[in-house]
Amino acid sequence: MYIPKTAAKRRATAVFLLPSLIGVFGFCLLPILGSAIYSVTDFDLLMPMSAMNFVGFDNYVRILTGSEFPKVLGHTCTYLILYLPLIMLTSVGQALILNKSFKGHGLFRTICYTPVITSWVAAAVVWQWVLSGKYGLLNQMLSVIGITGPAWLNSKDWAMPGIVIAAVWKDTGYYALMVLAALKSIDPTCYEAADIDGAGGLKKLTAITLPLISPTLFLLIVINIIYGLQVFDSVLIMTNGGPGGATSVFLERIYKYAFKQYKMGLASAYSWILFALILIFTAIQFRLQRKWVNYDA
């Protein structure tokens, strides 16, 4: 837009930009700098800030060589290994259904999306009760088909799978709509050619649909790993990291170091390690994508 350079224009530009500049510099860039600095100090919230000492990379070394870190990484990886295939399967499945036209399509779409708009706190409170050992909904359903369900959240082995089930329930609707958008962009003539060749439904799915939406599937995996490494609300409400630390994850650790033990230096170092992990996991994904993602279409 052409508007002559005047003092009024300069002033207006400054006014428009100022709030967001305060936000981005004050609550995003400055904090990053602050966090980097705290992470090499023994900053403790219970002590005055002047008592803060430079400790070099002690916090990082302490975290990475401690016995807790491999466990936390293990729990997070367990979460990802269970969650990723399930969420891909359910969201692609749901999207394939949403891509068809049928009676009650709008209602179905709305229902699928309800768990997404539910807050994690409410969802976790409900799922805690659904997963309750004896009287819970899930175990009562399982007993109908003759399976005695585990104690889920009270069991060291089953707490994480329990959290994963709740997360898949909550997130499927969201990712299904993302997959649906990709499905809608497929050129219908691709299928016409396959019909002429006499390809069946399954063949069309694996040979046409999935390769054509592979960029979106890739995006889903990347996003889910980034979010999965930062899983928090569900864990804090449903298990609080328990039983016996069996579901302690990164953000839960950072939250407790910072706001229960007031070790701000240690918590800051932990959050940088988490950030580094996010970058590493994402970089690995981008490397692996060459093998299976198809950008030609």
Binding site: V24, C28, F108, I111, C112, T114, W120, A122, Q140
Partner: protein
């Protein structure tokens, strides 16, 4: 076999399709039904085998106890959540669209680089900024205040990006002719630009409102006084207090979900649009 004939196979497949549909709907809805059903039961009636979906003696005891908690006021927390969600949304949307207007229509030397910096901040996970933001609020004396809770909403790089995209597509001639008619840039922004990007604006307002209403970690950290708590934090606290009174918890969950569900149902169109824009979670 019936499904060996082409017509039979078609019927078989559509039966299979609707069966799958029912299973998905059931799996999605059952936890909600279970929540509502439990919320109208008494403390003993919730523990039955087999499940009684329709309570034998429906009671609102759970709801009464939600509204008569020691130390927390659920009604107050609902009001707090509403006020905060509206305020955060207003701040986030206004600051983002004002900045987007500059990036889209009032470029200056270095504005491209500044926008690049904005985009770069989107990569930083909230985890890293959480601790230092808390400390900034502490230094400013804004802990346990609504101002402190709302302030970080000013930084909304994703919103700037979304609004900029939309504003770029607005034809310059509308704005230029308004300028020639003597309208100030503020007027052009509020009376011409914002109405023209209304669909994107509405989407952003909704996503931002739902995000603020549902947010948990940030209010949990910043707010410490009981009377300032948000609904999500109060529900989280109730989870510890009413461990064995699930009907109270379920009543609390119903009351937390209902308002946002209503907002969603009324404005579904814009929310769906947000997802196709690569929207927020």
């Amino acid at each position: 076999m019936m499904h060996d004939t082409p017509a039979g196979r078609k019927v078989f497949r559509s039966v299979l399709f609707y069966l799958m549909l029912c299973v998905i709907v059931l799996l999605t809805v059952l936890p909600f039904v279970w929540m509502v059903s439990s919320s109208f039961k008494g403390s003993e009636a919730i523990r039955t085998i087999p499940i009684r979906w329709i309570p034998e003696h429906p009671t609102v005891e759970g709801y009464e106890r939600v509204f008569n908690m020691q130390g927390f006021s659920f009604a107050r927390a609902s009001l707090n959540s509403l006020i905060l969600a509206v305020a955060c949304t207003l701040v986030a949307v206004m600051s983002a669209s004002m900045a987007a207007f500059v990036f889209a229509k009032l470029p200056f030397r270095g504005s491209g680089k500044l926008f690049g910096l904005y985009l770069a901040t989107m990569m930083i996970p909230g985890t890293v900024t959480m601790v230092p933001n808390y400390i900034i609020l502490r230094i400013l004396g804004l802990l346990d205040t609504y101002t402190g809770l709302i302030l970080p909403s000013l930084a909304n790089a994703f919103g700037v990006f979304l609004m900029r995209q939309s504003m770029m597509s607005v034809n310059d001639s509308y704005l230029e002719s308004a300028h020639l008619d003597g309208a100030s840039l503020y007027r052009i922004f509020f009376q011409i630009m914002l109405p023209l990007v209304m669909p994107t604006l509405a989407t952003m307002i909704l996503l931002s409102f739902m995000g603020s209403w549902n947010s948990y970690l940030w209010p949990l950290i910043v707010l410490t006084s009981n009377d300032k708590q948000t609904l999500q934090v109060v529900l989280g606290n109730m989870n510890g207090i009413y461990k064995n009174n699930e009907h109270v918890l379920m009543a609390g969950a119903v009351l937390t979900i209902l308002p946002i569900l209503a907002v969603y149902l009324i404005s579904q169109r814009y929310v769906d649009q947000g997802i196709s824009l690569g929207g927020l979670k």
